[in-house]
Amino acid sequence: MAVTYSYYPGCSLKGTGRAYEESLLPVMRALDIELVELDDWNCCGATAYMAVDELKACVMASRNLALAEKAGHREVVAPCSACYLVLNKTKHYIHESPSVHQVVNTALKQGNLAYSGNTPVRHPLDILVHTVGLDAVKKRVTTPLKGLKVAPYYGCQIVRPYSTFDDQYNPTTMDRLLEAIGCTVVPFPLKTRCCGGSLTGTLPEPGLLCSQIILKEALKRGADCIATVCPLCQFNLDGYHDKIAAKWGASRIPTVFFTQLMGLAFGLGERELGLHRGFIPLQLPATLRAAAA
């Protein structure tokens, strides 16, 4: 019997991060989990909104949490790292400051909504490793990705500042998940080092350097690809190769979502998983390609 969660995609997963949603939903379905998209969800505010007005940012985020409470599912799944952070931060902020809670609920009344402050917001990694369990994941694997060397890149916002499900400096949930689907996880010291975030577009010199550092080290460690959990990280690591090559020399390595790798291991098709949407295509090792053929 399928378990349902409220699903909060966030703006990116409908735009540049389409492939994340395209791979996440079928993978969850294969594990008997139904993600029900929140009706009329609005932008969470991400990092930019917080830079302008944090009270309104709180209200923006809380509307979604209130919608989730209304929908009645136990928990909300937020795959995008920024959304995950903002929704959790809002929850903390409301808990710490009763006056903020009051402002939020007064504003939400305009839509006949209210937020109690209690709905948990979880990340798919957390659900896959801790709720579904690696054994159940292993059972669904039809094509273990043997020989594929992956650098696990978590980015910053799913482990910091709220570390509900993994270590903040040296997380291992994705490592274990990738190993469960047959990948070889390379030792990677930059698992949680910032990719530059939105600076890659606004201040390219520092922003792109952050991304380049990650790409270069992944290649140095012998990885075939980088697995990521965040649409902005995927965009930064995958979308600026020309600019990076012009500044510091090429570091071409594909960056995919961990759900895409899971989908491949579950026997789903490359196009179905959005693997054609990346700039640097993922090259499976010869042995795997032969098996898939």
Binding site: C11, D40, S97, V103, C156, P161, S198, L199, G239, G278
Partner: protein, 208 residues
């Protein structure tokens, strides 16, 4: 010979109460306990480009050097990766203080004209406010148009690539109940926020 610079700071250079004001935001009171250990700067991946390191910004804020802080590049270089907040031995919410300072800089209009980051923030705010959702490519376009049109043209290849891969929506996304969201925001605008939150939140931005 290069121009000589005098760098002494007098008490008149301070803006008394600035530090207290920033620290009154919930979570930022811990700044009082800062021992200037430098861990924040040590872990910050962007600190190598900053004019004042995060540690210096904390001290300047606490000591009421408002002008120096709001004019610094540091607050705009912060990528909110939260490494500093997590590593700080006094559990000071450095990233949240950086957000505070960003808000104040925008509020007071203290940043270089055509500086992309505050412009991005304001455009993001506007789009989220009116549409309820943000369409990334349109947001990027608006930002570039307002700050650096040449750079926008330089991104044509990326834009084309995204379009070819289906990651470039041609329509601005929005929620259905836009009016509901607008009303919610108006409620926040009209609330006597100071009374409720003891002066923690700042008044809303009239950017629309």
């Amino acid at each position: 010979m290069a121009e000589l610079q005098r760098t002494i700071k007098y008490e008149a250079d301070r803006v008394p109460g600035f530090g207290r004001e920033v620290m009154s935001v919930p979570g930022c009171e811990q700044l009082q306990s800062c021992i200037q250990c430098g861990t924040c700067s040590g872990v910050c991946p962007l600190s190598i480009y900053m004019d004042y390191t995060p540690r210096q910004v904390m001290e300047l804020t606490r000591s009421d050097f408002k002008n120096e802080v709001l004019k610094s590049h540091t607050i705009w270089l912060c990528a909110s990766c939260y490494s500093c907040t997590v590593e700080c031995p006094k559990q000071i919410r450095i990233t949240d203080i950086m957000y505070e300072l960003k808000q104040r800089a925008i509020h007071e209009g203290v940043y270089p004209k055509k500086f992309p980051i505050p412009t991005l923030a304001k455009e993001f705010y506007k789009m989220a406010h009116t549409q309820g959702r943000v369409t990334e490519n349109f947001l990027a376009a608006f930002m570039f148009m307002k700050t650096n049109l040449m750079a926008a043209l330089g991104m044509w290849k990326l834009g084309l690539g995204l379009f070819q891969r289906g990651r470039f929506p041609l329509k601005i996304e929005s929620i259905q109940r836009k009016d509901e969201l607008a009303r919610m925001m108006e409620v926040v605008d009209n609330m006597d926020i100071d009374k409720l939150t003891n002066g923690h939140a700042k008044p809303a931005q009239p950017t629309h």
